[in-house]
Symmetry: C2
Subunit: 400 residues, 2 copies
């Protein structure tokens, strides 16, 4: 099938993580994504250590495939004019500067909307452009996790705080931005006008609280550090197995819990034949009342076999999963079959793997390596119809 | 401005978390979302303890606003026919059953596509419909976090595993599904045909690894539990302050780090006037080499003032944020100003707050309370043009 965003052109004025990932997903879906970067330096993530084969940063390579790179120095008026020419050809623009920056560069929403009223313009910032008392306050992934309340429920009680490990503060914002952009495009295609999609990482982080936040809003309760458990759904827990490794279980509903109780009674009749009838654990409410007790009990049961044994004996029918390393997560068969670590070809780095596009919809998948800084400047200027003399003048002035 | 998804009709056949949240966001953006539920029981999350005012579950109330509820018992042919009539009127259908269930109910992609070729049909499952060797393996939020490798980097070294605290295994899938649906709608509007969007929670979880996964794919390295730190970006850490509370810092680039070093030298000249020139901490690479040292050093500095003092003295210029409780996260001024905890009116529960829509794009916001089971059955059957006798027959047979 066709790639769903074929024919859509995206101007990617973003750096580092949330914006670049959002734009890469559009590239993965067939959009023509043009990454606009400062000559000489480019996206700062190009210089994050360590560099792969001493050439390009691992960080940049993962998030910028399926894009073309154009350099533009907005301090030069001719660069700005070039950008405005590009604006006339594009459908989407994404930026993740601090909110004070785009007006200074002459690329804020109002300016761009005047040049191309059909443009969907997305800003990704920590606290939002509209409504934030201090929109320019610096915000990065983990400080957003901290402000967002989520860190208060992570980790073991009595231990120092932990983050979510992976950069969800940024990436949830990336997915939210992508959704907002696509909704605005649907509306634009019907009503003829683009709009300003104003995504705040902090807003998105709050939505991740989901039932935890809702619990607070209705009952005023703070669960505190949850470890591997759930505030109201029991039993949910990491259990250590005979070989020292851990499995995570989530018996989220009554039929599944009864399946577990019956299975354990069948496997170990001498010890657990009464488990299915244990009144302490009979209903979701009973199990919630005896949360520590049931988790301790199951800890004893799960120490009888290795993690792989539990995974293979119960995992097909029940929510029991080995806690994977990063390597093991990429080796899951569904992950391999669904092309989630495709190989790309890089002109100087050769072949390497990246994380694939999770938006599977029957389209042909194609992954191009992240571009070198300004790799497509000539190509793009030529597509704009600029002649050799004009291109040379841009180069001579340092505008590109 | 208009709500971007006005005029789009969504059939929501989902339960519990990922699907219901995805569909609620579409409702928040103006889509007409019809939640189709089993008569008598409905979405199982309606019965998750605890219930607010002993009536509706906190869990259900948070995730199902801006929807209408219709009951249909798919075991009755007349219910199936009613559903097919509805399919002809809709743009999007979302389901998050185990993959073996939709064919059994007669509502699988192939069946629905024949009835309405323009329908965008989205499945959300643990491992995907296509390519998963065992697509029906049970999967819930935390088991997906476990399989996805992410749990291996959460928490303090030497401690038992922790989850991400909030249900990101489900919610990242919800945002991915939303993006996939909207991309498919854009394509449908241009090419005339809907398609099957096949979202696997495990795929989405892998994308959240971002640079951690990319680090592994290029260098084969497993960071292990990161606590509050970053594998390569230094200093990123939670620091305990004078009052026992914590702030999270993320000095993600060189100018910001130099700003911190200069500020501390200015605040405490007797102790730290040489900090900006300390060769151990001069460049990102130097700080990465001396990661434990710089975090310990900053721990000493931050113990000199309270968390609120650091937050107010540095937070406006630098990425320093108090680690908020859930309550504090909702009290952030930008969150209040951006209507992120809107109040809804419920016919029997009165007023309560929910978490708002993070997709801000200048639209008027409207939040309706989550519907009672089957609250809109009569209304929807009447909209389908069914007369009183037909409606009564459906009721008598238990089809609705």
């Amino acid at each position: 099938m066709t790639k769903p965003l074929e024919g859509i052109r995206v101007l990617d004025l973003t750096q580092v993580l949330a914006g670049p990932f959002c734009c890469r997903l559009m590239g993965d879906m067939g959009a023509d994504v043009i990454k606009v970067e400062q000559p000489g330096t480019g996206d700062p993530s190009r210089n994050f250590p360590p560099k792969y084969k001493d050439l390009e940063s691992y960080y940049y390579l993962g998030l910028n495939g399926n894009k073309r790179s154009l350099t533009l120095n907005f301090r030069e008026d001719s660069a700005k004019e070039t950008f405005y020419d590009l604006v006339k050809t594009a459908d989407v623009m994404v930026e993740n500067y601090r909110p004070s920056v785009p007006p200074r560069l002459g690329i804020d929403y109002d300016t761009i909307h005047k040049i191309n009223p059909k443009m969907v313009y997305c800003s990704i910032s920590g606290f939002g452009h509209e409504g934030a008392p201090d929109p320019n306050r610096p915000a990065f992934d983990t400080t957003i996790q901290a402000s967002g309340g989520v860190m208060s429920v992570i980790g073991q009680p009595g231990q120092p705080p932990s983050t979510m490990g992976s950069p969800v503060g940024d990436l949830a914002g990336a997915y939210a931005a992508l959704s907002g952009i696509l909704a605005a495009l649907i509306d634009r295609d019907r009503n003829g006008e683009g709009r300003h999609v104003d995504i705040a990482l902090l807003d998105t982080m709050l939505t991740l609280q989901a039932y935890i936040g809702q619990y607070y809003l209705l009952f005023g309760s703070e669960p505190g550090p949850l470890g591997s458990t759930h505030p109201t759904n029991v039993p949910v827990a990491a259990l250590q197995c005979k070989d020292g490794r851990w499995v995570q279980i989530q018996f989220a509903n009554q039929p599944l819990y009864m399946q577990l109780a019956n299975k354990l009674a069948e496997m170990y009749p001498d010890e657990y034949q009464d488990l299915p009838n244990d009144p302490r654990f009979a209903t979701p409410g009973d199990r919630l009342k005896h949360k520590a007790e049931i988790i301790e009990f199951l800890g004893g049961v799960f120490s009888k076999k290795t993690a792989d044994e539990w995974d293979s004996e119960l995992g097909n029918q029940m929510p029991v999963a080995r806690i994977n390393t990063i390597a093991e997560s990429f080796a899951e068969q569904s992950v391999i079959n669904r092309n989630m670590t495709p190989t790309v070809q890089h002109p100087t780095l050769g072949e390497y793997r990246i994380i694939g596009n999770p938006l599977k919809m029957g389209q042909e998948e194609e992954y191009k390596a992240a571009p070198g800084l300004g790799q497509h400047t000539d190509e793009l200027l030529s597509e704009l119809g600029y002649d050799g003399a004009k291109v040379q003048a841009l180069k001579d002035s340092g505008a590109v």
